[in-house]
Amino acid sequence: MFEILEKELLARDIWKYTIAAPEVAKKAQPGQFVVLRLHEQGERIPISISDWDRDAGTITLIVQAVGHTTKRLAEMDAGDHILDLLGPLGKPAVIEPVGTVACVGGGVGTAIIYPEARGHRQIGNRVVTLIGARSREHLFYQEELSAVSERVLVATDDGSCGHHGFVTDLLRQLIDDGLHLDQVIAVGPVPMMQAVSELTKSRGIKTIVSLNPIMVDGTGMCGACRVRVGGAIKFCCIDGPEFDAHEVDFSSLLRRLRLQERSAAGCTSAENGTEGCKSQCHN
């Protein structure tokens, strides 16, 4: 059992949880994630480790309430316990002295960008951070990111804060204005990562993305998380989650993320849709 020590609303539907997990806290590195299960009937879901305190034995998770499990988590409070939590999983991000790095976060991906931006800053890279959200009320972590970045630029879809438009517009602008980038890291919704990747590919800038396929175990046992990278199939949970963006087949990833929708709607049944579900579900 893993106790939720603190819970805080960061932005609309986005919660920050501080969780007691001493062994995970001791080992966590930027880029890694945990798989958690809330209760006996719960699903296993992957969530990135946004921060950790090795002395206090805690980790920080930032979770957007989008569906069944993440909403149920949002109903839990400090003092409640998460039944299962496994980690850290995945390969740590490769953080090396390269020069100037742009960290691009979209939506809840901003949470994942944070430890990476900090890591790059700590080893002396110049860090510029760009974050995108639907609107002002979905923005979070500006201050935290400012503390580890030379600049933080913001884009919102509705123009309620910062640039009115996509975060990729900002990135293009930055490059066009003559900022030399040695590396870009992009984490966010698949279309955003794909757009960043296309932009940087045309400019020849090395780009890393953190992929978020559906997972079950998170240890390489099930293959649910397979992604196509450089023409080969990789297991995101053990070979990733970070990959060279210019090698990733984003359309395959996007398609596989829709699996969850039909699975949830179609139950286990032979007929697609909830009606078939009732008649076909045996227990």
């Binding site: 062994e23 995970v24 080992k27 299960r37 009937q41 719960g42 699903e43 296993r44 069944h68 499990t69 039944l83 299962d84 939590l85 496994l86 980690g87 850290p88 999983l89 079950v216 175990d217 240890t219 390489g220 046992m221 099930c222 293959g223 649910a224 397979r226 992604v227 196509r228 199939i233 297991f235 053990i238 087949d249 395959s252 398609r255 596989r256 829709r258 699996l259 969850q260 039909r262 699975s263 949830a264 179609g266 139950c267 286990t268 049944s269 032979a270 007929e271 697609n272 579900c277 076909q280 579900c281 045996h282 227990n283």
Partner: protein, 461 residues
């Protein structure tokens, strides 16, 4: 052995084989000829005194039967259900020359079930072991880890099992379905082990949450790796990343471990569709096919050799046939096609022909040019085998691996290339059987005992 009728059992996940009554067991046991040469024992990978326990059953001394089995096998209720008896003990039975061999597996199961149901572990609880000889870490809670832990605990060590998943049991928990191995039995075995003093820690991925070196720093004097062969192989054909293509591990894990068949009472969903094609012919393929039948799909198993080469247990093949699973032998998949949204629509296969026998005794296979055909499919389940997981090897300096990533051990000591680190089960052999993993786990435990006693007594040469 009586079974649930096929038309009933395809609608539930309860156990198919119902077990013997005491009278049936005694009658079956009485058929044993008590041969002096004991050929059946030679066929048992752990050398159970088969004539001994069968005689006890015939005499109605069920407690005596269990005691005999337990000398060599810590998990008889499980082995009685999942061992491939037809190629082990029963294949050597003299009765089999003229008629049916003695149903040794069924009798083993009967004795073990009788023990569990009669005593519930209370009266015959193993004594709590005091430890005192040292601390040993067991990594993985499949049959290899389970057996190693039981043996080490019996030998007087303080044992902690570290398991990555939230439920212990390895393949017994996430792979083999409830209708073949009720999970209560597994839970019972773990309770016994814990009562005996073994500590069980789930949600710990060794190689990540804790490394092997961390285990030594925590005071463990030896480490046993029973991490199995859990990394699923893929076909390497076009379309394998389409939606609706599952590895057998994903499919079975969703159903067995996450109980997706109870959705929406549980949170884990699963989409399957009407036509399911399963690729492979082993136990995993049979389990996947029969599980899909129970979820309401019509199922075709595609296997590249012929029926007599199916590596699955004979009983599973028969049960699958009775449950309406269709088989396409001498057929091999070449591509998977999806609709415009990326969902599986059909699978292309090619007919195969058999050639000369290869080293493993099975005939070679080759495709017949121009024989391609498409089978309709809403889902495809790939059950073509598994290899060892790379996590421990990646994060343990000095741990050597061999072909296909198996961990290499010295044949008699089970020690890996890292001093004090031992391994057995599927992780050293590649996918094998429950009983071989158990046999390995037990021998490795004895080797660990030998190592630790020699190490503390006098320096190892």
């Amino acid at each position: 052995m009586p079974t649930q009728p096929p038309q009933d059992r395809i609608k539930n996940f309860q156990e198919v084989a119902l077990g013997y009554s005491p009278e049936m067991a005694r009658r079956e046991a009485a058929r044993c000829l008590q041969c002096r040469q004991r050929p059946c024992v030679k066929g048992c990978p752990v050398g159970i005194d088969i004539p001994g326990f069968v005689r006890a059953i015939a005499e109605g001394d069920f407690a005596g039967a269990v005691a005999v089995i337990r000398q060599d096998n810590t998990l008889p209720a499980i082995c009685g259900r999942v061992c491939p008896q037809e190629v082990q003990c029963e294949s050597h039975c003299v009765l089999g020359r003229k008629g049916e061999p003695l149903a040794i597996g069924n009798l083993e199961r009967f004795a073990a079930d009788w023990e569990r149901e009669t005593w519930g572990g209370a009266a015959h609880r193993p004594n709590r072991v005091r430890g005192g000889k040292g601390k040993v870490a067991v990594v993985g809670s499949g049959p290899a880890g389970l057996t190693a832990a039981a043996e080490l605990s019996r030998l007087g060590y303080e044992v902690t099992i570290f398991e990555a998943l939230h439920t212990p049991g390895g393949v017994l928990a996430y792979g083999i379905p409830e209708f073949r191995l009720p999970k209560d039995i597994l839970a019972y075995e773990f309770r016994q082990l814990q009562l005996q003093g073994v500590e069980l820690r789930t949600n710990v991925l060794i190689g990540s949450t804790l490394t092997i070196d961390d285990l030594f720093s925590l005071g463990f004097q030896a480490v046993f790796l029973g991490t199995g062969a859990g990394l699923p192989h893929l076909l390497g054909i076009p379309g394998e990343d389409l939606n609706g293509v599952y590895t057998a591990n994903e499919f079975l894990t969703r159903v067995n471990l996450m109980k997706a068949y109870l959705y929406p009472q549980v949170d884990t969903p699963l989409y399957l569709g009407k036509h399911v094609v399963v690729i492979g012919g082993g136990n995993t393929a049979m389990d996947a096919a029969r599980t899909a039948v129970r979820l309401g799909s019509s199922v075709t198993v595609v296997y590249r050799r012929s029926r007599e080469h199916l590596p699955a247990r004979r009983e599973e093949i028969l049960h699958a046939e009775e449950e309406g699973v269709e088989f396409r032998f001498l057929t091999s998949p070449t591509a998977i096609k999806g609709d415009e949204e990326g969902w599986v629509e059909a699978i292309q296969c090619v007919a195969m022909e058999l050639g000369d026998p290869t080293e493993d005794g099975r005939p070679a296979v080759r495709p017949i040019p121009g024989s391609e055909l498409w089978l309709p499919a809403d889902s495809v389940i790939v059950a073509i085998g598994q290899g060892p997981n790379p996590i421990v090897a990646r994060t343990t300096p000095g741990l050597e691996t061999g072909l296909h990533g198996v961990i290499e051990v010295a044949p008699d000591t089970f020690m890996t290339s890292r001093e004090g680190v031992f391994a057995a089960g599927d992780v050293i052999t590649g996918g094998a059987t429950v009983i071989k993993a158990m046999g390995g786990g037990k021998k490795a435990a004895q080797a660990i005992d030998h190592y630790l006693r020699n190490r503390s007594g006098r320096p190892i040469s």
